[in-house]
Symmetry: C2
Subunit: 194 residues, 2 copies
DNA sequence: TGACAAAACGACCGGTCGTGCTATTTTGGC
DNA sequence: GCCAAAATAGCACGACCGGTCGTTTTGTCA
């Protein structure tokens, strides 16, 4: 059964995720989050044991949303190259669709040098995603769409690079052709993999 | 003439740059920086008008260091493909050589959604670097090393992507093969450009 | 050596941080 | 419609934030 508390918790996490994508997981303050959600600081604290706990739950929430919006839909569609292409397009849309960009990317560069459970959770999530990408590429190889010489993990690496450049060009440099450049690069990567 | 004040200012900025690469430009606190440099907070404030001023000067310092260590040395070496390759290797070394990774990358994902003069300065520095890359590629085209069909700015985009993926794999995922993967990707990019 | 400016200091400002503890309100099952 | 449980608010705390102040130390040059 879903109680009222569950709902507010969900609402808080939604807002927190968006906020963290702008000011960072560390920069996010309880007071600001309380203001944003129209609650008191102590009201928030009934839902989260500590700020670190909140950060962990933000990452978990982002993980769920990403799986739901990007990864899972492609599992019910085509296999092989089509799925890899679908993953890429959904990934771009995921970035476009939220204020502050992809929370994983933002957090990754923020926490890369700050050891602790939050960094660990983030690295685990990122590792999972990279694995998922590589698996999709492996299937494309098995289906004969991609060359059997192809290294799926190298493909995932380069695909991630294209996404990161897209993120930077789009968010910081305000380049209107960011998505175009990303697609050109990705097409080149796919073509070279056949 | 270089006064004592100039020297300490230099020392402070050095330390501040390293610190900011770890905790971010916003996360960097005056108190912590004072502790790290063995000075008092007010002693610091003799050198910087405000925290924002400090952030701007950190970016400026990073820009100088980057130009000195990465960009300029390649101008005195080979032109064309050789220079582009040298830029890439020096770029990787620049990332490896400092705690916290490349300060520009860290700052870029931190500030991309926080308008203001600091973000502007950062975007300008990044734009400058992308321009420099594209110019080096254009020279390689003119020299006949790269195809005349090649779009230098697309090359710069993809090169940046490879670097960003390297940064992520190296810093967050602790992947030992990060540099190898970066070189494989870059070689593929260069080969496809000939 | 004495004068004067540059540099650094410690104390302190109002404000916000994360986080407790306790009281009050709201909710949902009987 | 009662009552326990769940949810939220109120309030206070010590620490630290960016920043200012008047003062003291240090370095430079006549």
């Amino acid at each position: 059964m879903v109680t009222k508390g569950d709902e507010t918790r969900e609402r808080i996490l939604d807002r927190a995720m968006a906020l963290a994508a702008v000011v960072g997981l560390e920069g996010l303050s309880i007071g600001e989050l309380a203001r944003e959600t129209g609650m008191s600081k102590s009201g928030l604290f009934a839902h989260f044991a500590s700020k670190e706990d909140l950060q962990l739950k933000i990452i978990e929430t982002a993980r769920e949303r990403f799986a739901r919006d990007v990864f899972e839909p492609t599992l019910r569609a085509t296999r092989g190259e089509g799925r890899v292409r679908a993953l890429f397009e959904r990934w771009l849309a995921w970035e476009r669709g939220r204020v502050g960009g992809c929370p994983f990317v933002e957090a990754s560069y923020e926490l890369d040098d700050r050891p602790g459970p939050v960094r660990d959770a983030l690295a685990a999530a990122q590792g999972e995603w990279v694995d998922g990408l590589a698996r999709a590429v492996q299937i494309a190889i098995d289906e004969g769409h991609f060359s059997s010489d192809l290294d799926p993990r190298q493909f995932a690496y380069e695909m991630y690079g294209i996404f990161l450049a897209y993120h930077l060009y789009h968010r910081l440099l305000d380049a209107e052709d960011a998505a175009d450049r990303a697609r050109v690069a990705f097409d080149r990567l796919v073509s070279a993999s056949r």
